[in-house]
């Protein structure tokens, strides 16, 4: 087990290193041209460009730039003075990217934790109900709704919800977007987040419901279920204790990855539509200006969450299920 843990952690570090290298290639090498010239504005003087190149380190070899970027990313999330000029600063307003991401974390976490609870609960509910009533009209109705849920663009759903529930009515029940910190007013926090929570959850509810339904239908024909029935166990007990528990295994691993992705900024569309100033929103603001460093920072941050969460999920699995360990 110890060897497995060490190997998994080493693997995680290797993936993180490759991820950061890929991000660097995407942002520094693909655009080509000289970032200093882009930053200098429309009619730059050569001295001006040279000055920027010198200050931001664009004239250094790429591995030095890479090392500088990683140093910044590692130290940027720690409290302390934030430097002004280097690769991981916004081209537009020269703000420190890591510091800006840090400021977006409360909104993103509030959105994701609430939505995660909602989608897990309703996803399991939808899956169990449609598996129990498989083939009947209620199952078909649920299946159709689940399919519509996974077929909707999440940002469009958000716009529609915002328009019909918060903007159009004369006396709207819900506030129109924006984030209120939990510490300043818990009630307003919930009130402002209800629409985004459900908006983000609907896709996942449909998706988890469909996965769980087919898993449970497969599980109902297993031998251990027949044994449970034969020994006279109550049908509800059989369903909840035997079928559901086994069908939940893939759901749990899906949830770990999806939740990590959402925490890591994959909720960018929901945050943008509802004006929640989170991590994803910060990246989205920079897309319009083609301000690459913030997008680069958020991508790194998101990948970090996914890599760490999937390593943790693997370790938990290995602890629970000894068959996985030797691999």
């Amino acid at each position: 087990m110890v060897a497995f843990v060490i190997r998994r952690i080493l693997g995680m570090l290797a993936v993180l290193f490759m991820v950061s290298l890929l991000v660097f290639v995407v942002f520094i090498l693909i655009p080509g041209g000289d970032p200093a010239e882009r930053m200098a504005g429309k009619n730059p003087t050569p001295a001006n460009v040279e000055n920027i190149r010198e200050k931001w380190g664009f004239n250094k070899p790429f591995y030095v730039q890479y090392a500088e970027m990683m140093k910044k990313a590692a130290t940027g999330l720690l409290p302390g003075p934030h430097g002004e000029y280097d690769v991981l600063s916004s081209f537009q307003n020269r703000q420190n990217v890591a510091h800006q991401i840090e400021q977006g974390i409360p909104a993103t976490f509030s959105l994701c934790v609430g939505a995660g609870i909602i989608w897990l609960f309703f996803g399991v509910l939808v899956g169990v109900l449609s598996a129990v009533y498989a083939g009947r009209w209620s199952d078909r109705l649920i299946t159709i709704f689940a399919l519509i849920g996974v077929s909707m663009p999440v940002f469009w759903l958000g716009i529609v919800m915002r328009y019909f529930l918060a903007e159009k009515p004369a006396h709207p029940k819900f506030p129109d977007g924006e984030y209120v910190p939990l510490s300043s007013d818990p009630v307003a926090w919930v009130h402002h987040l209800i629409l985004p929570w459900f908006c983000l959850s609907i896709l996942f509810i449909g998706f988890y419901g469909r996965v769980l339904r087919s898993n449970m239908l497969d599980g109902m024909h297993e031998d251990y279920v027949r044994t449970a029935k034969a020994k006279g166990l109550h049908p509800r007990q059989t369903l909840l204790k035997h079928v559901l528990r086994n069908s939940m295994i893939p759901i749990v691993s899906l949830f770990a990855l999806d939740f990590a992705a959402v925490l890591g900024g994959a909720a960018i569309l929901t945050e943008t539509v509802f004006d929640l100033h989170g991590v994803g929103w910060y990246a989205a603001q920079s897309v319009g200006d083609l301000d690459l460093p913030p997008i680069m920072g958020v991508t790194l941050y998101g990948a970090f969450f996914i890599v760490v969460f999937s390593a943790v999920a693997d370790l938990v699995y290995a602890y629970l299920d000894p068959r996985i360990r030797p691999t």
Binding site: M18, V26, P31, G32, M152, A261
Partner: protein, 362 residues
């Protein structure tokens, strides 16, 4: 028959049955059986029909623009008036203007022409946008772009994913190790963020490396970005399938007969995964249309004024109070397209392999 009856017979079950009962057993290919199952699935067939209708409508966008709406997708008509039920109606009214009679500036709230259905003789069927452009025309052209990207990126993505999966699964060893690590690497990113990152990095100067030149604003940028980020989502499950097929006896037999790697990969392994690939392809098109819409919504996909369903919604969002149709209609188009593809993909999966567990994880 002149041959003696004591000869060892190699007659198949079909000929034996034919001799005994005079009934012929018709050999049926798995494709025919799948088609029979699909034919009975009316929901899937209706869904396919809806998708084909949408495809044809979008493909006919230039015809519609020319003969029905009499305007192009980027042509503006801000100061013009059109005939609606015999009355002249301005396309855009309101805004601030100088009134010469009173000598004052008048500020009126802007009013944009709403959906006219057929009252304006085919013009502004779905209303106008703030620049006086015909929303219906932009919708159809946008749909054409969205479908081009969705289908194109699905083709490219499945092609490369299958190639990598076949190579990795067949050869194993270090080739498989590299391919699996490549999948892991892309898998480690949130798909959508990686797509945004690539999309915006490519939108700065386009792509001018290795002799390939793609300009900013080209539809190739979103197409290639989406196909690249989704490769592991198709490649991983197919690689798994190839790995398990690799252990089967018929592959061993082929190796024993001296068949080369190309022959084994493409005429022994590929036919066995084709049904999975087909189902994946359908579902990947649906998911790519959604991804494209999200990218264009954020400005990292199709760039305005070139329309796509995603950037039409983005443009409509700002004006939802005065022109809600602008954001609602393209969204409905996406829902119908993606829903029809998902329904058809489900039906196809049930028909090709009722026990398969192909699904796309996002």
């Amino acid at each position: 028959m002149a041959e003696p009856a004591t000869e060892l017979s190699f007659d198949s079950a079909a000929t034996l049955a034919a001799e005994e009962h005079e009934v012929t057993i018709v050999g049926r290919s798995p494709w025919y059986l799948a088609w029979r199952r699909l034919r009975r699935n009316y929901v899937a067939l209706v869904a396919l029909g809806v998708f084909i209708v949408i495809l044809v409508l979008c493909a006919a966008a230039p015809l519609y623009a020319r003969y029905v709406a009499h305007t192009g997708p980027t042509t503006t008509h801000i100061d013009e008036k059109i005939m609606v039920d015999g009355k002249l109606t301005p396309v855009i009214s309101g805004g601030s203007y100088y009134d010469a009679n009173t000598g004052k500036f008048v500020i009126k709230s802007v009013k944009i022409l709403g959906p006219q259905w057929w009252h304006a003789g085919g013009k502004y069927v779905l209303g106008s946008d703030i620049y006086g452009r015909d929303v219906a025309v932009r919708m159809l052209y946008g749909g054409l772009n969205s479908l081009k990207i969705g289908l194109g990126s699905a083709l490219i993505c499945t092609f490369f994913a299958c190639l990598l999966a076949l190579l990795g699964g067949f050869f194993g060893g270090w080739i498989d190790w590299i391919i699996a690590r490549f999948f892991d690497l892309i898998w480690a990113f949130p798909v959508f963020l990686l797509a945004i990152a690539l999309g915006s990095a490519l939108s700065v100067n386009g792509f001018h490396h290795f002799g390939i030149n793609i300009d900013v604003g080209s539809l190739w940028i979103p197409t290639l970005v989406i196909s690249y980020v989704l490769i592991p989502y198709v490649g991983r499950p197919i690689r798994g399938q190839v790995l398990s097929l690799r252990q089967k006896e018929f592959i061993e037999a082929a190796v024993g007969q001296g068949a080369g790697p190309m022959r084994i990969m493409f005429s022994d392994l590929l036919p066995n995964i084709v049904s999975t690939i087909l189902v994946f392809f359908t579902l990947i098109v649906a998911s790519n249309i959604l991804t494209e819409a999200g990218l264009s919504f954020l400005g990292a996909g199709v760039r305005p004024p070139n329309p796509s369903w995603g950037n039409l919604i983005q443009a409509g969002q700002d004006r939802i109070q005065i022109a809600p149709w602008e954001a609602l209609v393209p969204g409905l188009a996406i829902v119908f397209t993606v829903l029809s593809l998902n329904l058809f993909g489900d039906g196809l999966r049930d028909a090709l392999d009722p026990r398969a567990k192909v699904r796309i994880e996002r």
